[in-house]
């Protein structure tokens, strides 16, 4: 039972990996960016757990800025992905411009809230 589960897990891992290798490079870059942002957020949470949460607004703005850019990058990836039939009329430049605009608003708010 355990053996078949481990074998299943290995098969799963291999098929995931092979499927992922096939994605285009620009999407992989975006995925890397998302992982980086989430990783930064986790570091901040770990730091807060160590040091304490004062001042709370700085912690909030730090974590939410990382999560915010991650979410926005995922949205960009959705819009730029050629396999998404819903977005085939959307030019990738327009998607990127929207991404930049939303990030601008996000970071303006962050700078204001950072304290």
């Amino acid at each position: 039972m355990v053996k078949s589960t481990t074998k299943d897990a290995q098969d799963l891992f291999h098929s995931l990996r092979s499927a992922y290798v096939a994605t285009p490079t620009n999407l992989k870059i975006i995925d890397l960016y998302v992982c980086f942002a989430v990783f930064t957020a986790l570091i901040q949470v770990a730091y807060m757990a160590l040091v304490g949460s004062f001042p709370f607004n700085s912690f909030l703005s730090g974590v939410l800025s990382c999560i915010g850019t991650a979410v926005l990058a995922v949205c960009l990836r959705i819009q730029v992905n050629k396999e998404n039939k819903e977005f085939k009329d959307l030019a990738p430049e327009r998607a990127f411009a929207d991404f930049v605009l939303c990030n601008l608003v996000l970071h303006l708010v962050i700078i204001n809230f950072l304290g």
Binding site: L12, L90, F99, C102
Partner: protein, 778 residues
């Protein structure tokens, strides 16, 4: 819908029709804006351009401060003229949206050299924003069902009495701006959902920010949208557009909400926001699942599912256990008092009498539904059914919106205001569909009667003919009561775009000509009744400024301007630093108009302070004098309606003073003031009642008016008629005895007779007064 033969003339004809339709829509929208603005002007015409009620006076005072001192002073303002001696941090406890909006408009107009005063801008802010709100309703409904429904919904919202009641000219309150922000935020959310554009998602977050700035009811948005996302996921309508519509809103919205000082960290710590975080996590899980499903083969996907489910369950349990422990550690489970009273309607009456005592927080009665949304109450179910055919993301959203708002409006009458836009949207959809069916039938029938059979192709423009049998919609029931000729049954709203292909099917989908014409006329009459009711409600029911009262008598119109008379007296005849004590209803008006420091006001944030004032009003004179003296009070103000029959006076509110006071100081017991469970002020009243300060201050010298002391509100003669005041002296009574102001007599220098210890022993029993043999004050 496009013409079958596509040479140039037909295409230009379609383009011309479109252009004409657009121009007509714009004209209609302008007219709707003018209508929304002008229907709210009745109070300005009947009375004058004055600010109404109580809360708007506070907002007006804050706007005055903002316009005089600028935004930094406003943001950091600590108000020491209210809640003496505690003060109030205005910057951190007020929702700044309304004042900033009016302040900006005032500043902008003045920079253009249009010298409108702050009061004028404040009075007319609400009608202007109601015009904007109708346009926002048009946009929202257009996204759901098309521009015909949008126009119908907009015109309904411009006139719906529930919204008029909170946005007349002069009602300068948060809802005036907040309802516009609410509808606009929903419009942007639906637009993002329909288009999947990140640009609209950004705008959505900014509109949500404006909503958070304006009103505490923003929690409705941040709970309704996650509920809708969850509904979409559960019904299998997950799509990437849903992710784009929701995820940026949560992150940006939480940050922006935390920026507003009133909300602050509550944006992440209170239970009102937890739903959004929970659904945020859920939507990420769902997105990941869909992504993996997309890149794996079905067999591997099954393997993945079994693996993940087993591990995921364990993790889920741990996380849920932590959350539950966190939430259960706070006594209210993390919810604020007002939100909890929405979820559990009996909560407030058991634990927080102040919330229960506000009349706006009571559940509404059935007649108030018909008064406030009138005909729409019938059309809403038809609209709900129309939304299901076909069901799209946006129509599921409006259905969820109306269901939630119906529930909340049933809990608290004040929230009928949130129901109004939803009802208008639904009714607009219903009306538009009905009109489509009937006009389509008429067109088809006329087309068929004038030509021969090939018209089946030409009448492509009557595609919405789709009814199962000859039934009418529920709206006509009220008209049917008067014209009970046609025996029609209820109609189900037609399904949308039917197939235009099969001629035979089309023949069965069309109503007979006479039926359509009569039904059309009946619908128009329905609309006429609605308009008549709305104009009546705006003119008669909702335009009273409540600071000026009028009554019609045989000799004409009587105007009772006692409130402003007394506030003017206060501002001219007392020192600037004198403190005035009254019940909390009049706090805002006193600070705004009389410019004197008050003890408690309508913000009701400190229950103990209000209970202190309530206890003082319920105590005998000496104990009340002690309490007021300890608060540095110089003047006491009571409102008395017995001479003219004004029913909202302090004697009618007195039991609430007793209850609130008794909630904090246990020696005040409500039963002491009731005779056999009945509240009386006549000769059968209890001695505690006849000796309390409120009775004495209200009825002092009242017997001199007519010799018998007949109270027109309570409809009896008063119990104790001839008495003197020992610790207070009367300094002002307004023209119709509506407001009476008393001054605290200063303490005596010498005490006749045996010297008594005048230090009141402050035990936990509070102000218990022991019976004395000699009263040193007489």
């Amino acid at each position: 819908m496009a013409a079958l033969e596509s040479p140039q003339p037909a295409a230009t004809a379609t383009a011309m029709r479109h252009a004409f339709g657009n121009v007509l829509s714009v004209l209609i929208l302008v007219l709707i804006g003018v209508l929304a603005f002008s229907i709210r002007l009745f109070s300005v015409i009947k009375y004058e351009s004055v600010i109404h009620e109580f809360d708007p006076y506070f907002n007006y005072r804050v706007t005055q401060f903002l316009s005089k001192n600028g935004i930094y002073e406003f943001w950091n303002w600590f108000d020491d003229r209210t809640w003496y001696p505690l003060g109030r941090v205005i910057g951190g406890t007020v929702y700044p949206g309304l004042t900033l909006t009016a302040g900006t408009i005032w500043w902008f107009l003045n920079s253009l050299n249009i010298p409108l005063s702050v009061e004028t801008v404040c009075v007319f802010t609400a009608p202007v924003f109601s015009a904007f709100a109708s346009w926002a309703t048009y946009l929202l409904t257009q996204e759901v069902k098309g521009s015909g429904a949008g126009l119908a919904a907009a015109v309904l919202l411009a006139m719906v009495p529930s919204y008029i009641s909170r946005s007349v000219a002069g009602s300068y309150d948060n809802e005036a701006v907040a309802i516009f922000a609410l509808i606009f935020t929903f419009y942007l959310y639906i637009k993002t959902l329909n288009t999947g554009s990140l640009f609209y998602a950004t705008l959505n977050a900014l509109a949500y920010f404006y909503m958070v700035c304006s009103w505490g009811g923003y929690t409705f948005i941040i709970n309704l949208i996650p509920m809708h996302v969850l509904l979409c996921i559960v019904t299998g309508r997950y799509s990437p557009r849903l992710y784009i519509a929701y995820a940026p809103l949560v992150v940006l919205g939480t940050l922006l909400a935390a920026l507003v000082p009133v909300v602050g960290f509550n944006a992440v710590l209170t239970s009102e926001h937890f739903a959004s975080f929970l659904v945020f996590i859920i939507i990420h899980v769902v997105a990941l699942v869909y992504y993996i499903k997309g890149i794996l083969t079905p067999k591997m996907f099954k393997v993945a599912v079994t693996l993940v489910v087993s591990i995921g369950m364990v993790v889920c349990f741990i996380v849920v256990a932590i959350l539950v422990a966190l939430v259960a550690s706070s006594p209210t489970g993390g919810w604020s008092g007002r939100s909890l009273s929405l979820l559990d309607p009996t909560y407030a009456s058991k634990y927080i009498p102040i919330i229960a005592s506000v009349s706006e927080h009571q559940p509404p009665t059935w007649p108030s539904y018909f008064m406030d949304i009138n005909v729409l109450a019938f059309l809403v179910p038809a609209g709900i059914i129309a939304c299901f055919s076909p069901l799209s993301d946006s129509s599921s959203f409006v259905v969820l919106y109306i269901v939630m708002s119906v529930y909340f409006s049933g809990v608290m009458v004040r929230l009928m205001l949130v129901l109004a836009p939803a009802a208008c949207i639904m009714s607009g959809i219903a009306l538009s569909q009905a009109f489509d069916v009937f006009t389509g039938s008429i067109k088809y029938q006329l087309g068929r009667s004038s030509n021969s059979t090939d018209d089946a192709e030409d009448t492509n423009n009557a595609p919405k003919d789709d009814a199962s049998a000859g039934k009418t919609d529920k709206g006509e029931e009220i008209v049917k009561e008067r014209s009970s000729k046609k025996g029609k049954k209820k109609e189900r709203e037609p399904a949308d775009k039917p197939s235009v292909k099969s001629k035979a099917k089309k023949k069965a989908l069309v109503l007979p000509l006479e039926t359509s014409i009569v039904a059309l006329l009946l619908l128009i009459m329905l609309g006429a009744f609605y308009v008549i009711h709305c104009v009546w409600a705006a003119a008669e029911a909702y335009s009273a400024p409540s600071i000026v009262l009028t009554s019609q008598s045989r000799d004409g119109l009587h105007v009772f301007d006692d409130f402003r008379e007394s506030y003017a007296w206060l501002s001219h005849n007392t020192d600037v630093d004198d403190k005035v004590a009254s019940w909390w209803d009049y706090g805002y008006q006193t600070t705004a108009m009389a410019n004197r420091t008050v003890i408690v006001d309508n913000n009701t944030w400190n229950n103990t302070h209000i209970a202190t004032v309530g206890t003082a009003m319920s105590s005998p004179e000496k104990a009340a004098w002690e309490i007021f003296n300890s608060l540095d009070v110089k003047y006491v103000l009571v409102v008395f309606g017995g001479l003219i029959g004004y029913p909202s006076d302090d004697i009618n509110k007195f039991l609430w003073m007793v209850r609130i006071g008794g909630g904090v100081f246990p020696h005040i017991k409500e039963a002491d003031y009731l005779r056999d469970g009945q509240y009386r002020i006549n000769s059968e009243a209890t001695p505690t009642m006849l000796n309390c300060l409120m009775y004495k201050l209200s009825y002092y010298r009242f017997v001199e008016t007519d010799g018998k002391g007949y109270d027109r509100v309570r409809r009896t003669e008063i119990g104790k008629k001839h008495f003197k005041l020992t610790h207070f002296e009367e300094v002002f009574t307004s023209h119709h005895w509506m407001v009476r102001i008393y001054k605290l007599k200063p303490a005596r220098n010498r005490i006749r007779g045996r010297a008594k210890k005048l230090k009141s022993k402050t035990t936990s029993a509070g102000w218990s007064s022991k019976s004395e043999k000699k009263n040193p004050w007489v």
